[in-house]
């Protein structure tokens, strides 16, 4: 019940973020969506995910406010509004047509088709010695997944730092506006 109310609040926040004219208000609305999502995770008894969601949301909002808002980017829409709505509706229709058969195949809530979770719950402490079973799954049973995720983040950081770097090759200053820091 409580979760339903929070989910409706998230949808309302997302619609407000899309429709409001002021960019700062839109960023605040996106922030409320993330905050409510972390509350939902907490109510679904996933404190690990809730903490992560909260911290990621905070740093995202700070980045959006500080990095994006200040830039006076041109705001003319790329396509006219009726065409945009029509394209959106087409994509939504295709997505729903593909989604409905997939959702029908899903097992009922609370009875997963993969039984490996019960094994983790039963033997996690004996196998890994970690009292927090989420940590034992992340860094022991499924450490390969964590390695992949770490690689993705590493590549993303390197990409950002390469695009926004201050120095060009051979120590020359990049001429076209890549310098950061000197105000």
């Amino acid at each position: 019940m409580m979760v339903d109310v929070l989910l409706i609040l998230m949808i309302v926040g997302a619609i407000i973020a899309l429709e409001v004219k002021n960019l700062l208000s839109a960023v605040v609305a996106v922030g409320t969506v993330g905050l409510v999502l972390s509350l939902v995770f907490l109510l679904l008894q996933a404190p690990d995910v809730a903490i992560t969601q909260l911290a990621v949301e905070i740093i995202t909002v700070i980045l959006l406010i500080r990095a994006t808002l200040r830039l006076e980017l041109p705001q003319s829409p790329l396509i006219s509004r009726p065409v945009g709505i029509l394209t959106g509706l087409c994509f939504a229709a295709v997505f729903l047509i593909l989604l409905v058969p997939g959702l029908k195949e899903l097992p009922a809530f609370g009875s997963p088709s993969v039984r490996v979770a019960q094994t983790y719950l039963d033997q996690g402490l004996a196998d890994t010695g970690a009292a927090n079973l989420v940590a034992s799954v992340l860094l022991d049973y499924r450490a390969y997944d964590t390695l992949g995720e770490a690689t993705v983040l590493f590549a993303a950081v390197i990409g950002v730092l390469t695009v926004l770097r201050a120095q060009g090759r051979k120590g020359k200053q990049v001429s076209k506006g890549a310098e950061h820091g000197k105000e």
């Binding site: 903490i51 992560t52 500080r66 010695g129 989420v134 390695l147 770490a150 590493f154 993303a156």
Partner: protein
């Protein structure tokens, strides 16, 4: 920023930093772990940067050091995995398991948490610095 913000930052930033390390070190016992702990550590430096400006951040944690720390964390994580490889399997839990619920337990989980924390924290902080202090050419000419 104003003197109010600076004073509050001076009082709280150490606590945030300590809380981040607490989450990282207790990642195998309580909710949390290397990823979220690293983000909280990065947030403490972000806090410092927002209140005192770029120069203070540069004095505390130079941009060159963040790059080094990020690479070090990534190498440490892969190194732990490769040390397990010496015992037969990639990511083998080769350290002693220890008492459950003790701080020094769970084999490779705490060291891997610390490695991920260094990687994520330093990486996000350097992205923050790059994005926030980025200027377009026409912006600087103004």
């Amino acid at each position: 920023m104003t003197v109010v913000v600076k004073t509050v930052t001076r009082l709280t930033v150490g606590l945030i930093f300590l809380y981040g390390w607490y989450i990282v070190v207790h990642g195998h016992l309580t909710p949390g772990g290397g990823f979220v702990g690293g983000i909280i550590l990065a947030l403490s430096f972000v806090h410092l940067t927002l209140a005192f400006g770029r120069d203070a951040a540069e004095a505390t944690l130079p941009a060159r050091v963040t790059g080094l720390v990020e690479g070090l964390g990534a190498l440490l994580f892969v190194g732990i995995a490769l040390l397990g490889f010496l015992g037969g399997v990639f990511f083998r839990n080769f350290l002693p398991k220890g008492e459950p619920f003790a701080l020094f337990s769970a084999g490779i989980v705490p060291p891997a948490n610390i490695a991920i924390c260094l990687k994520v924290g330093a990486g996000l902080f350097s992205v923050f610095l790059a994005l926030v202090f980025f200027r377009f050419d026409w912006e600087r000419r103004k």
